[in-house]
């Protein structure tokens, strides 16, 4: 992208990146020895001076601050996030090469840097809250309140602003207020075509880089780490250097007051990949962590299900061809193929397998369990047979406990940090005073809380639920055998369950209503809902998303003419 040399072989300028990070010519596939230079992403006051042809003088302001642009802020954020990911075990290449190259490409494409005419040029640099006489002569300049009302966010910050403006009587002259130079511009222009950067989008960047490198971290893992505080996101601006003052509209850009939403981050990632004109991502092969066969192992383990189920998940994957690299690999911009959410896909495959084996109609699985229990009594050699009932009890217990913990954590989530946020310098003392009071009160009531407040974050872990075979209480089902619920037919072990019910007879059109199916708990068996709930907890997404994916898989599965089972009928549950 920013490599503009002509190809030695064919004289074209059409470069792509190999897996190894080398440039190769797309026209003639000539691989060069040139690799990406490591870019120093440290924040230096005049980073942009080097890359912009028109130089804007940076001046130290009287309050010790300096001029900074919004994209520099985001650059810092990304750097922090990449460092955190590296600390979690992601390879350094992500931080040093991939992510920063994506970022540079983005800056270039959105004309914020690395190009001839940066977008910020058309607006005069505005200093913090100084009345600029120019503003009076341009009546179309929007006021502070108007700026905030056009934004799509929750509106919490909107109320902050209404306080700020109502008590300080913001006049027209102090209308556009931000610590950054282009904060107001950032929020004002309709940036749809240029893909304006947001905080959730930083996670899209991260995920995109992780995906490019095929790191063993799913999007749901990433978002969970964010919520647990292992990846800077919530109050990341507190890591900005002292001289980078944040106030006013910057808060709207950099402050986060909600947990990142899977769908949002994912969709933005797709948009971003297309925007950056990225080529086909490195192939997801069956040795990759993100491949359904691999992910299924992980989720089966976490769900405390027998290892033998893996055979079945692999069979389903193979049957509907979702293990193919072409299906799994992301090709940006290609609107025709449905994009793959690896974690949801793997979970849905497991759900389908459970339905295949246990039916999950609130009757059959219990009957089958009793049957297995009977067989277990005579089962002396080998491991015990898997009994659905026992598994259900163990999982339900753990799930309820974990869910309760999670619910309490949601109630105890702290959003603020020590670094104060204020809309204008006038408000600073008031904000600081409040902060002091908050800390005092927290201490006072903290002492009355009794138990020791553990402010230590739990260690980041890929697994939320763990089960150990060494436990003698029989609570680990990994090694259990499925023989209890299988029967031999023609030398093959097949499921005793002859039936299957489809979640939905017809899939919806995603374009019309945004979903492929509409999940309502009351419409489906409780066992099915339980299984969805389990994976919903593990992935931290709504059960309906998994349900959607289950519907798609089922439709693929039963559209084929082949059948491994003796007979099955598709029937819609009432």
């Amino acid at each position: 992208r920013d490599f503009n040399e002509r190809c030695a072989q064919c004289s074209e300028v059409n470069w792509g990146l190999t897996d190894g990070g080398r440039f190769y010519c797309r026209s003639c596939h000539n691989v060069t020895e040139r690799t990406r230079e490591v870019v120093n992403t440290d924040f230096i006051s005049n980073t942009r001076v080097q890359t912009i042809s028109k130089v804007l003088r940076k001046q130290e302001k009287t309050d010790g601050g300096c001029e900074w642009y919004v994209c520099e802020g985001f650059q810092l954020v990304l750097k922090k996030q990449a460092e955190a990911l590296e600390a979690l075990g992601v390879c350094p290449q992500m931080k040093d090469e991939i992510l920063c190259n994506f970022w540079r490409c983005y800056l270039q494409k959105s004309k914020q840097a690395y190009c001839n005419r940066p977008a910020g040029e058309t607006v005069k640099a505005l200093s913090v809250c100084d009345s600029s006489t120019d503003a009076d002569s341009e009546p179309e300049r929007p006021s502070l309140l108007h700026m905030l009302s056009v934004s799509e966010s929750e509106g919490d910050l909107q109320t902050d602003c209404s306080f700020a403006s109502s008590t300080s009587k913001v006049s027209e002259s102090t209308s556009l207020c931000s610590g950054s130079v282009d904060g107001s511009l950032y929020l004002m222009k309709n940036q749809k075509e240029k893909l304006r950067m947001t905080m959730p989008m930083t996670l899209s960047f991260c995920y995109m880089a992780l995906l490019w490198l095929r790191e063993p971290m799913t999007l749901s893992d990433l978002l969970r780490f964010v919520v647990e505080g292992h990846i800077p996101y919530l109050n990341v601006f507190q890591h900005f250097p002292e001289k980078m003052k944040l106030c006013g509209l910057d808060l709207k850009i950099f402050c986060v007051e909600s947990w990142p939403v899977y769908e949002e981050v994912y969709n933005k990632m797709l948009e971003l990949a297309a925007f950056l004109d990225l080529p086909r991502f490195p192939d997801i092969t069956d040795s990759c962590f993100l491949h359904p066969d691999m992910l299924c192992i992980k989720y089966l383990m976490e769900a405390n299900l027998p290892d033998e189920l893996h055979n079945w998940t692999c069979r389903v994957v193979k049957k509907i061809c979702i293990g193919e690299a072409d299906f799994l690999t992301l090709v940006p911009g290609n609107k025709s193929t449905r994009k793959v959410k690896y974690d949801v896909l793997a979970a849905a495959v497991i759900v389908v397998v459970l339905k295949l084996l246990f039916l999950l109609d609130d009757h059959y699985e219990w009957l089958l369990s009793e049957f297995a229990e009977e067989r277990n009594k005579n089962n002396k050699e080998g491991g015990p047979y898997f009994e659905f009932k026992k598994w259900y009890k163990v999982i339900k217990c753990s799930l309820d406990v974990e869910q309760k913990k999670l619910d309490e954590e949601r109630a105890k989530y702290l959003w603020r940090c020590e670094k104060p946020l204020f809309y204008s310098a006038k408000k600073k003392s008031k904000v600081l005073k409040r902060r002091r009071m908050v800390v005092n009160l927290q201490n006072q009531f903290g002492k009355l809380s009794g138990s020791v407040q553990s402010s230590v974050k739990p260690n980041p872990s890929s697994f939320q639920l763990s089960w150990y075979e060494e436990n003698t209480d029989g609570s680990c089902f990994h090694g259990h055998s499925l023989k209890g619920i299988l029967q031999e037919k023609c030398g093959l072990l097949t499921a005793m369950n002859p039936d299957y019910w489809l979640c939905t007879v017809k899939l919806c059109t995603e374009k019309l209503c945004g979903h492929l199916a509409h999940y309502r708990e009351v419409d489906f068996p409780q066992s099915y809902h339980f299984v969805l709930r389990l994976f919903s907890f593990l992935l931290r997404i709504q059960p309906s998303h998994i349900h959607d994916e289950v519907c798609v898989i089922e439709h693929k599965l039963f559209n084929k003419k082949l059948c491994k089972k003796p007979k099955y009928k598709a029937s819609l549950r009432k």
Partner: protein, 412 residues
């Protein structure tokens, strides 16, 4: 239940509040305090004009927790409240007032007084109507505390007087307390409301200094001004005042009449009936009968000997005079369906006889007249009474037998 996996600031604080509420309802103060610590950061976003914003929540919840938590001290409470006072000008007076209440409940009268005085001198911008009211309340309670001081001084003076001392300084102090108290108490009772305590104290002051006119006027206002909410106590106070000052029966009766209308079961109804029975006016005597019947409609009076004796006396008197039997008939008409089971069951006859002979005597008389000599109650009690050879029961038996036809005329 489907669990949301989204979360934002507002939602997480809502959820936190639910946990606090649950903990408080179950009196788990440590747990409530724990969750409160996580709620507190809402103060940094408290710019809403909602009725119950975070500031108010934290003030109320924090107060509850500090009141009940085993490890909290008065000092902690005070420091907490001082912080709450700075949280919003609209709330300042309210917080001061409630702080004062709290101090009073803990016996810290001087501190409460200081607080109220401090609050009184507070001025900020324009006073809203609510703040005006709150200020009046603050002044009123300070006035009340002044009254308490006055009362104390008065007692000291009395003591000294008995001992032959004269104490000018105490007297001066006392008068100054009086002035301070009077000014504030007078103000508050001008505002429509229920101010029993203030009225009583103010009247006490006025009476002491001999200003009976003012006192009477105050009490009349309090009882009869339609702007004030209906308050039985107002009439009681007025009645007691009039009685104290030997006012005419007429004024006493008119004071109690309204009380009868509002609270027919009031304990003063006995006094009322007694006064009315003695009246020369026929209408008054009839009212008396009405009053006593009405009082005995209430379960709390079932075993009140005095009440029954009033009724018995009046009924007996009417029967003997053979005049105004229609009064009894009128009263009995609406009661004959349920009074027998309510008052005159056989079970009650046994119980009354066992527990309270006088009660059973009075009731038996009434029963005998209203229900005739063959009614369960009368039969049982008179039989028991005669068996026990108690003289009055024999007289009673004879009386009722003699006047049995009356019953027929009443019940017809």
């Amino acid at each position: 239940s489907s669990h949301e996996h989204k979360l934002n600031f507002k939602k997480s604080k809502e959820v936190c509040l639910n946990y606090i509420q649950d903990a408080m309802l179950q009196k788990q103060w440590k747990r409530a305090a724990e969750f409160l610590t996580f709620y507190i950061e809402s103060l940094e976003k408290d710019f809403s004009t909602a009725y119950m914003g975070p500031s108010e929540m934290i003030w109320r919840i924090g107060t509850e927790i500090l009141c009940h938590h085993s490890h909290s001290s008065m000092k902690q409470f005070n420091s907490f409240i001082e912080q709450m006072k700075t949280l919003g000008v609209k709330r300042y007076l309210k917080v001061c007032l409630e702080h004062a209440f709290h101090l009073l409940c803990n016996g810290l009268i001087d501190e409460a007084y200081q607080n109220l005085s401090l609050a009184e001198s507070w001025r900020f911008g324009e006073q809203t109507a609510i703040q005006d009211r709150e200020m009046k309340l603050i002044q009123a309670y300070r006035g009340l505390l002044d009254y308490c001081s006055w009362s104390k001084q008065k007692n000291i003076l009395l003591e000294h007087g008995q001992n032959g001392f004269e104490d000018l300084s105490v007297e001066r102090e006392m008068h100054s307390c009086f002035r301070k108290a009077a000014v504030n108490l007078k103000e508050i009772i001008k505002v429509p409301g229920v101010w029993d305590l203030f009225v009583k104290c103010y009247v006490d002051l006025l009476e002491y200094y001999g200003d009976h006119n003012e006192a009477c006027q105050v009490l009349n206002e309090y009882a009869y001004n339609s702007k004030f909410p209906a308050n039985p106590n107002a009439h009681v106070y007025l009645y007691q005042f009039l009685k104290r000052h030997g006012e005419s029966k007429k004024s006493l009766i008119s004071a109690l009449k309204i009380l009868h209308d509002i609270v027919p079961s009031h304990e003063l109804m006995i006094d009322f009936n007694t006064m009315l029975q003695k009246s020369k006016k026929r209408k008054k005597r009839q009212l008396g009968l009405e009053v006593i019947f009405a009082a005995l409609d209430y379960a709390g009076w079932k075993e009140n000997v005095k009440a029954w004796s009033c009724l018995a006396r009046q009924v007996k008197q009417i029967v003997i005079s053979e005049k105004h039997l229609d009064w009894i008939k009128q009263e009995w008409n609406s009661r004959k369906d349920w009074w027998p089971a309510f008052h005159f069951s056989r079970y009650l006859a046994k119980r009354n006889w066992q527990e309270n002979e006088s009660l059973s005597y009075e009731k038996a008389l009434v029963a005998g007249i209203l229900l005739g000599k063959d009614c369960k109650y009368f039969k049982y009690v008179s039989h028991q009474g005669c068996k026990a050879q108690v003289k009055r029961f024999r007289i009673l038996k004879k009386f009722v037998n003699k006047h049995n036809p009356v019953y027929l005329r009443i019940s017809g």
